[in-house]
Amino acid sequence: MFARFWLLSRVALAAATAGTLVVAPAWADDAVKIGLILPMTGGQASTGKQIDNAIKLYMKQHGDTVAGKKIEIILKDDGALPDKTKTAAQELIVNDKVSFIAGFGVTPAALAAAPLATQAKIPEVVMAAGTSIITEKSPYIVRTSFTLPQSSTIIGDWAVKNGIKKVASLTSDYAPGNDALASFKEHFTAGGGQIVEEVKVPLANPDFAPFLQRMKDAKPDAMFVFVPAGQGGNFMKQYAERGLDKAGIKVIGPGDVTDDDLLNDMGDAVLGTVTAHIYSAAHPSEMNKEFVAAYKKDFGNRPGFMAVNGYDGIHLIYEALKKTGGKTDGDGLIEAMKGMKWESPRGPISIDPETRDIVQNVYVRKVEKKDGELYNVEFETFEAVKDPGKAKK
């Protein structure tokens, strides 16, 4: 017993010492710090990794000094768990005195940080999460990713125009999935289409096989699919195994399911899949070609749309700092970001001054083989699409 209490006091002492060590070291005064909160572990890790890579690439290309200030990125892993996001955001704001918080792999994470951004009056740059409501939760939120209604409404219209009458839907059961389904349904049924089967699959560890059988039995013209970026490969594998490609049921949907990150390994079953999305690695612009080549050179694989979201996010931060001359008060930065326009690897984009959400082109693409590799080849462009989720109001 005595030994234990002796141990106890020793441990308490050790803990106290360790605690002081954890406190962040002092930084140079003329540095601007950016707190980057991303899922680097767990099921959403690929999102975090792509954004982190893209930011590293951008800083390598553009230097780490803006308007005379050195940019420091402090990366924190939240494993896509909102309580971790909140803790990380608080630590970054209070202890590290960051001027921006950025990243946010999933919607609940972005929402959890929103009140902190409001309270601390610092910009929250959302680089991944795609639910429409996010930017309404704080006047300090700016988004450089996309919203699911942006792409889903367009694929809905496209399906109607191209003779697709009956659609079965398969979406992940969480906010972005429900957003995607609702906007698709609205546009598709308004044009006279019919949803014959509606399936929501659990987000965690989904097994698509039983659902796919139901899809096959419903004999639709096409199936509308939304699964988060990392799950597309698994979905396509089971889609081919169940023979839905041979049954002539095509996949349509927002482009998450054919994310460039995984597309090349999906096999030939994916050929002919038509999706509407914001970015394709095959986007035919000089800037994109350079971006893809540089990304491939540094990280060994193709950038997906998450990488572009991160690349544009850090660009927005750089440009805002240039505009304020390196001043870091939150209101000034948000004002600077509003209405900003630039050319991104995905095409021309801008920040809507009213909603602080991204306005961008949405491309309709078809998966084709180019030089032996699978690509989303763009064949139709809808210019400067605002978030339909908010445009309605």
Partner: protein
Amino acid sequence: MNAPSDVRFHAGRHARWHAAEIVFWLAALSCAFVFPSRYLIMTDILRLALFALSLDLILGYAGIVSLGHAAFFGVGAYSAGLLALHGIINEPVIALIVAGLAAAVLGFCTSFLLIRGADLTRLMVTLGIALLLEALAERFSDITGGTDGLQGIEMQPILGLFAFDMFGKTGFFYALIVLFLLFLLARRIVHSPFGLSLRAIRNNPLRAAAIGVPVNRRLIAIYTVAAFYAGVAGALFTQTTALASLDVFAFERSADLMLVLVIGGTGYLYGGLIGAVLFRMLQEIFSTITPQYWQFWIGLVLIVVVLVGRARLHRWVLFVPNLLITRIAGGKAAVAVPESEGP
């Protein structure tokens, strides 16, 4: 000296407060003033400590192993979340107790499944219950919010006086007070004759039954109490973060809890508390150094802690010489290792 007074004498002797314990709690309180900018992470540690205390009650004192303790944590978390979200009970303290009781009811009901089996059965049953609840929470997403979690929880001030603030100061003191009160209660329980009978059961259930300890009833009682504790820990989680999502039931949460107790040690109440501090601090340090691969280093440290801490250092010192002797001479190890020494 007759038997009851003998028991009371020994229990009383162990129940006395040691100086180190007082120092420990003073240190915990002083953290609030030493690290005023780190309330959220310290609150996180307190919640984990209470949760670990709960597992220690059944594992360290009654010898019940569990890989599904998150079930009670989750029930407490969702109860507190739903109570606040729908405005059923707005007062956080009462909601906390109600959430704990909800978990206790579940603990009581499921305890009957536990008293039948041995360790392996218990591991499987507890794990199963937690998985089952997680699946249910996912299925009934209209109630639980599914993967998105409960959105829009707004906590009322504690006792109508102390509002939860953005940077977690109120939450920290609230959690600390709850932890301390429940710790006092736990301390009282384990030093009572009831607690002693639990230890008898842990050491040898058959012998305990033979001397007249009602084994099953005692196990049901302590399991229910532990479930209450875990439920309160879960409710604290929801109340201090205003979040409740499916991961409250996650297997990782139960598994992490085991690790906390492995680090801190079982059967003396402080194990969970110390383990929680060390575990979170390791996580914090490693994830700051390498946000992508911190889990590797945590795993490595845990393996070292378990091997060195558990298997007694001197055995490892003699491992190589003994191996050489057995290999070369082909006989029994010449250097004797005392087997019966315990920590």
